[in-house]
Symmetry: C2
Subunit: 325 residues, 2 copies
Amino acid sequence: MLKSSELLELINTHIAELAFARKPQGLYAPVSYVLSLGGKRIRPVLMLMAYNLYKNDVNSILNQATGIEVYHNYTLLHDDLMDKADRRRGKATVHKVWNENTAILSGDAMLVLAYQFMADGCPSASLKKVLDLFSLTALEICEGQQYDMDFEARLDVTEAEYIEMIRLKTSVLLAASLKIGAWLGGASEEDASGLYDFGMNLGVAFQLKDDWLDVYGNPDVFGKNIGGDILCNKKTYLLIQALEHAGEEQSRKLRRWLDAAEYEPAEKIASVKELYDEIGVGRMCLQKIEEYTALAAKSLEKVSVPSEAKAELKDLMNRLMNREV
Amino acid sequence: MLKSSELLELINTHIAELAFARKPQGLYAPVSYVLSLGGKRIRPVLMLMAYNLYKNDVNSILNQATGIEVYHNYTLLHDDLMDKADRRRGKATVHKVWNENTAILSGDAMLVLAYQFMADGCPSASLKKVLDLFSLTALEICEGQQYDMDFEARLDVTEAEYIEMIRLKTSVLLAASLKIGAWLGGASEEDASGLYDFGMNLGVAFQLKDDWLDVYGNPDVFGKNIGGDILCNKKTYLLIQALEHAGEEQSRKLRRWLDAAEYEPAEKIASVKELYDEIGVGRMCLQKIEEYTALAAKSLEKVSVPSEAKAELKDLMNRLMNREV
């Protein structure tokens, strides 16, 4: 069995060597650009790890692992366009380097490329179910993004609605990556489902950690600027819980900051953070992260492979949960 | 064998009965809206006709026919957004009724839905090759759209480049519709390829006819406003040939109109049309249409089914070529 760092190296090398040789260059250059920006490659690594629980020749599913990463990067490309985000991983986003139409069209091409990679070399006995899950997941992710956009205009988003949104927007792709890897490795349906549940719970914990890091992360380590979500009034777990649990005076203050058209960024961040601390939403978020991490661990326990084999997945989970970035 | 009008009725009824029951409504309402706008449904009808050359139970591939139409409508949705077109089939476009983000995301969902329909009930022996052709076609259509956008900034587009662009942007989908229908009907590879070539040549003739109708169509019949392409300087076959074959004085006049920032629309249309007539590009276009229609007919002849069976396809071709809309 390979270590996750070795699998990461494998997928990184594979992606770096991809040549999008088709023309026109205006369509494919943004695809290469986005894929060259790197990232944690969590989804393909999870797919390879799940496969590796059952089989050793991980190279045989590098196309499928690439497909998941190309798909994920297409969602970032289109989401950044929809969110009008200027930067991603420290670099200018595609609609900034090129333009909005290029971002739309190259994103579309990436979604098709993802399907091509997913089908390429996929054993015919698994093709239908792999593609069915991939399509369902892609649809769920659209639904999650739509909910996320719908939430922007609302102040009454509930915790349950929020968790469902991040389940759709983030978790299902981690879950599907694991399940597809398991299927291709020949896992039983029970194991494949157990790994799916592991990914689902891990995904929720992962996104909650992202929300938490935006406010409480170490600014020297955390790549994005601390407080970015606060500045753009993003409906994170913290804000949703703050809106729900604020006392009258706290609620008034919080809404004033949400409505403020002009402000000193540092002052808004500090003031909202102070309210978060008073209301205790940081703690609530950490509790929720622990809850979902425990659920993830429980899902993993049910998977019927020796616990030594699962150590890498458990380790990855712990690293993701204890990350500062 | 069913008539094309019967197949059209079949697919129209099927599409009208589709219920996109998933949530959120903000994602799926635009999908239903776009599909309800109608259109000629040429692509699914071609698929059903190709299938019907070999088998009678056309109902068994209604999902695949729907997939092609959903796919086509996704391209219209995203193209209209990229072209900033306000209207489609007499109705407001999705980014006008909703907004740009909805157009991006619902279009993305439609592309995924198209894959779902395409795979749903597709015999497993054909699944891989059907999806491979579908993905390749979808990629080619992105390439065609990119070329089309690239051409906007150029005055030196050659006839060959233009034909290649419309081959990618329009023809390959007609060709793939026919080939997939043929495959699913159990046609030989020779027949499937012959039908693919038929669709390819038909598609080029079809797009050239579109270009011609924009200038020479009957304004009482032609749905769009006559001269729309002229007003927005669209690089049609007519404009490309005019730029290539204009004499010095004609070229000067033509470029002046292309550069004009302010003008009376009717005057621009009349003046450019006069130049087109002088240079003779209408006639060149009609000749090219005949050339590709003849190539299409020749491709169809090679298909090894009784000529009575091919009469419907030939008839559809003639109707598309003699259409005034």
